[in-house]
């Protein structure tokens, strides 16, 4: 589902690269944690998968498409295969939960019929069927993150990327979010979570890829956050 071969990314010539010679294979249906300090290359890793940026060298294949060779106008169609969740939720404050999720379908041209059936369904999946008409400022942080997960997943993308999804949430709420990711993963969706959250990673016992200084220092199939870091 995701494949990186000898990928390096250098932002400024003369400085050390943000990612150096990274090789990763992630199969369909896997659940993967991406861990590492700030500046270890996690954000670059995620941006490369979304094709926000292109690698300096190496090949990246996402959902069967070689992102280097992807034509500019086709990038949006690649992104429809990747649901994204962020630390700051990125919800529109003037839209209700329902409207925020519906917006993601509207702007890729889905019909009203599809929107009316899929949006309530995905909101039920994340446990917000009672808060469909609430605005983001009426929701707790955990609830807002559930809305943003619903938005990322409503189009049933094969890949879900989460960048520090629990960075703003307390441990109990984080646990709920993580079990939601597990549920989504069980539907066959590949889930990649970049995080600092040591306890979470340790308790989930999933595949862990650890980055440091732009290099992969560890890739364990049932891993923990790590001892030294």
């Amino acid at each position: 589902m995701i494949s990186m071969r000898n990928v390096s990314k250098k932002y400024v010539a003369g400085k050390p690269p943000a990612l150096a010679d990274v090789n990763v294979e992630i199969e369909q249906g896997e659940f993967v944690f991406l861990v590492g300090h700030s500046g270890s290359g996690k954000s670059t890793f995620i941006k490369l998968l979304q094709r926000e940026i292109l690698p300096s060298t190496g090949q990246i294949i996402v959902a069967g498409q070689d992102v280097n060779k992807l034509k500019h106008w086709k990038v949006p169609y690649l992104r429809r295969n990747i649901g994204c969740v962020f630390q700051d939720f990125k919800l529109l404050p003037n839209k209700t939960s329902y409207e925020n999720v519906a917006f993601a379908l509207e702007v890729i041209g889905r019909s009203k019929h599809v929107i009316r059936t899929q949006v309530p369904e995905v909101l039920r999946l994340v446990g917000l069927e009672d808060k469909m008409n609430s605005y983001p400022d009426e929701l707790s942080g955990g609830e807002q993150q559930r809305v943003s997960i619903a938005r990322a997943f409503v189009n049933r993308p094969p890949i879900l990327l989460a960048d520090e999804p629990t960075g703003n949430l307390d441990p109990a709420t984080s646990l709920g979010i993580m079990s939601l990711f597990s549920r989504i993963n069980k539907t066959g969706t590949t889930v990649l979570v970049a995080t600092h959250d040591r306890e979470m990673v340790d308790s989930m016992r999933r595949r862990v890829i650890a980055l440091e200084g732009g290099r992969i220092i560890r890739d364990q199939s049932r891993g923990v956050y790590g001892y030294g870091d």
Partner: protein, 306 residues
């Protein structure tokens, strides 16, 4: 089905955005209105001036002044020679007495000037009307070469002065319209540039106001044209409002002001046909759409990286 939904979405988004930065949008609408008003006024004016020129041209006559002592058969010979010319439509002999009575008519407001005349100073003349106004110069040249004309003309020392024709007037009118067109074109270009700047700014603000939505649209994979279209439509809507206002203003001028001016100057044909008005309206609408598309397109290129 999907297309129908999208069109509704774009129109809704454009108007929401219009309401959100109405100050900038109003600025854009006003500048487009003014520039299109000038475009319409100048196109209309040059259409009118062309009509006036044409009507003046139609009235172009050549008048040959004849010396008082000229022999009647020489005058008749010249008249016959000119009648034979295919380019001449009609020819009329105006005697000294007729010339004087015409002069009296034109001076009816101050008859004392005419009464003071002891002798009739006006020469007799031959008045020619031509089939085609553009032949005036050629016919004049032929007359100047005619020996009978040289014999009987009023001023044998300077035959040129014995001929009077309206070509100069027509030429002056043409020069005037040329200058008018250049001045209008300069104004239109200037206002066009200002309109582009205003639309550019209005769309830039609209993009800024919606940067969060745009970010999310990119995130979930909205296609580039889907993100751009509402902004393009906003620019076009602003231009179309400007165009409609300009067309309305020009229609008011045509319906209420032009008839008044015509009353004051009945000798000028100051009214445009319905066809010309439709033509001007079309020019304004198309021009407005082009300005709107270019203005918002430039803003999108500079401020919206998709």
């Amino acid at each position: 089905m999907a297309m129908a939904i999208n069109v509704g979405y774009f129109i809704k988004e454009s108007f929401v955005s219009f309401r959100r930065n109405w100050v900038m949008s109003l600025g854009a609408v006003i500048t487009i209105y003014l520039s299109l008003l000038l475009v319409g006024a100048s196109v209309g004016t040059s259409m009118l001036v062309n009509q006036v020129v044409r009507s003046v041209e139609e009235k172009v006559t050549i008048r040959i002044f004849i010396a008082d002592g000229a022999a009647a058969e020489d005058v008749q010979a010249l008249q016959d020679a000119l009648s034979a010319d295919e380019r001449v439509k009609s020819i009329r002999y105006v005697s000294k007495e007729e010339a004087l009575s015409e002069f009296k008519e034109s001076m009816a407001e101050s008859p004392e000037i005419v009464e003071q005349l002891e002798v009739n100073p006006l020469p007799a003349s031959l008045d020619l009307e031509l089939n085609n106004p553009s032949d005036v110069q050629a016919v004049v040249d032929d007359i100047k070469a005619n020996e009978t004309f040289l014999k009987i003309c009023d001023r044998p020392d300077d035959p040129e002065k014995s001929l009077k024709y309206g070509q100069q007037v027509v030429n002056q009118l043409f020069t005037f319209t040329r200058i008018l067109r250049v001045v209008m074109a300069v104004f239109i270009v200037m206002l066009g540039v200002i309109s582009l700047i205003f639309i550019n700014n209005a769309i830039r603000l609209a993009i800024y106001a919606r940067r969060k939505e745009i970010g999310i649209m990119r995130l979930v994979g909205a296609s580039n044209w889907f993100i751009r279209t509402p902004f393009l439509m906003e620019g076009v809507i602003q231009s179309l409002i400007g165009a409609v206002l300009a067309i309305g203003s020009l229609a008011i001028v045509q319906l209420y002001a032009l008839p008044k001016i015509s009353e004051a100057m009945p000798f000028l044909p100051l009214s445009l046909s319905g066809g010309s008005s439709v033509q001007i309206a079309l020019i304004l609408v198309v021009g407005g759409i082009i300005i709107g598309l270019i203005g918002s397109g430039l803003a999108l290129r500079r401020y919206l990286k998709v």
